[in-house]
Amino acid sequence: MNAAENTPIPLLEVRGIEKSFPGVRALSGVSFDARAGEAHALIGENGAGKSTLIKIMSGVYRPDKGSILVEGRETRLATPDDARRAGIATIYQELLLFPELSVAENIFLGHAPKAGFGRIDLRAMRERAEALLASLDIDDLPTDATVGALSVGNRQRVEILRALSYDARILIMDEPTAALTEADVTRLFDIVRRLKARGVAIIYISHRLDETFAIADRVTVLRDGAYVGTRLTSETNSSELVQMMVGRRIDNLFPKTEATIGGPVLEARDLVRRPLTKSVSLTVRAGEIVGLAGLVGSGRSELAQTLFGVSPAESGEIRLMGEAVTIRSPAEARAHGIAYVPEDRSVQGLVRPMSVLHNLSLAALSSLTRLGFIDRAAELRLAEHAAEQFGVKMRSLDEIAGRLSGGNQQKIVVSKWLANKPRLLILDEPTRGIDVGAKAEIHRLMDELAHAGAAILMISSELPEVLGMSDRVLVMREGRLVAEFDRAAATSQAVGAAMMGDASALERAA
């Protein structure tokens, strides 16, 4: 029997929530509830309103309309402190811990056990921290360890312990597995199961459907700020959920079509840039999409940055359209018609205080310049086209880019480069962290660009994406290219084995 079905009154319930920000309606009439002992997943595309909803449930935002009920009683959550007192704890993606302090100090910061004269009772604090750890059967986390030295997974466990130290009965987690390793995910799920058994309600935001099925009892889908529906995970499947999320069927996840492959656009020979690019040679042809697979740390992003002049090559040769070139800076790479969409788009891609318009045109300014000054009309055309192509949601092109939602910011960074009509496009994790709909948009655009004759080098950690989009797959390991597969020969076993360096598996696959 499922504990969730026995509880008549939900621990936390919101009804008819509406919330608008200037010019954007973030939530319209959303209802949601979480019962004791259940994990309730909240899913939806970027900008669907998930973050706004959890911020309302954590007292960060106040709703324009609607009510919040904690254990059946209407409650006002005006501040995060109100939410904490109501037994609601939220764990955000960016963990809010103090790296210089110990595990125990972090857990009890703000409500440490006191001895005489207000002095912190270190022993009692350590004992209570240890009791907390024991209650979750955690035996591999010393309470006196400095938090800054812990792995992301362990830091997250400290945050959860911190929430429990306040006797939180409702735990909200915003994409908790985004930065975790597989082993950490297993441990997190273990904790979640224990908390469920204790009667804690867990609200779980995720982009990953497989996780939703693994851990959640129910799942609620939001789309464009509206409530779409709630399902028992035992009675639904991923295609139904995807359809609810995007409101349409994605018939072909990877819309790759055959493009005419022309002459070589990029030929690199024996590129060296210590420490992670060790004598790399590769060719990318016009109309061709080359996937670059490899584990994190194998040197893929470093190779991309060497090609783009961020960290120029120490030796080796680069030819573009058959002509030998030297690329010592991104400006030179750009002048040669190379574009690069970096991996960390929040840090590397967007100038947050600038307008959407100026961000979109930033990489294309030289082509928009006539007689030395920027052609306003051409700039506007370019930006309108780029924003339209990607469906960037904004009030106007003059809106400050930093004000848009994360998903929209990413769209701006990607479209800014495509606006430049590059001959060689280097994409580093082009679809990481974006929703299913935008993902398909980006794949469709890559296909279009290839048809228009662009050469594309795509780095991706998602194997299905590499296999689905590439004409050829190159595999990188420890700074070298170790394998190459044609589209037909690129199977997940073969590419995966090459990534891992598993020689026997390689032979089997061959």
């Binding site: 973050s51 750009r334 947050r352 930033l362 009030r395």
Partner: protein, 331 residues
Amino acid sequence: MSAIALFRAPAGRATLWRRFFTQETLLAGAIIGLAVVVGLINPRFLAANNLADILLGNAYVAVAAIGMSMVIITGNIDISVGALIGVLATVSGSLAVAGAPIVVTWLAPLVLGVAVMGLQGVIVAYVGVPAIVVTLGMLSILKGGLISVTGGKWITDLPVAFHLADIEIFGFIPMPVAIMVGATAVAAVWMRWWPRGRAIYAIGGNAEAARLSGVSPRRTLVLVFALHGFFAGIAALLFATQLRVIQSTTPSGLEFTIITAAVVGGVSILGGVGTVVGATLAAVLIAEITSALVFINVSPFWTHAVQGTLILATVIADIERRRRRLAGAAR
């Protein structure tokens, strides 16, 4: 797709209102409002020659604030500019007294200003020393060097032709005002419609993103410092030629007034935001306030307190704006 059309229609009014309600219109309103209020208290404040004095005597602050705005928009700061203006004025005046051709006396501060500021730009951009440290060092060097060399004595007997500030264009536009308006307009247009001008905002907002977009943050930074030196050179000329004598010391607190003008003009101390039009208007407002204090019988010693209050209020408002913007963005 309809995303743009959808979100543009209801935004029209708000955007129009916001376009009008900028830091610049606010400052223009404050300049006029203050004149009216002080004029009611003491009508002599509004006399033509007083208003002219306010503009003529402070045009050099506005000109220096142009370069300062650019430097602050890149996310840097310069506290050596006041001392530099003192040095450049002294060099220019000494050359004039020594009988150098007038053209040389006018060009020397410009060239020297570009050289000194350009050097500081190189140290900031290529060596990676924080601008506040570099310019603090330069401030000491210039200040100490000047007083050691000149002993602080006054430069007098300047040739009549030297007095650039006395020239009137078309016989009625005083040179300081013409330069202030002209330099502001040229800088504003350049920063908005020239790629390198746009780059100033980009590197101040996110240097890494700018670099990956093909903008060189280092070269842009050196250029900005060099331009700042050029404007400081012009400011020094206006400063040197407005009176019949030059006191060969560094004007105390001048850098503070110039930074105040930039910040009150809407240049964000955090970088990436601001206009030179705002900075020039703020320089005029500050000059007006200083003069107004005299006309309503408040001790001029309050000037600095008023400037300090203005700068604090502006920065607090700026940070508050960013905070709200951030809250609105997290969706």
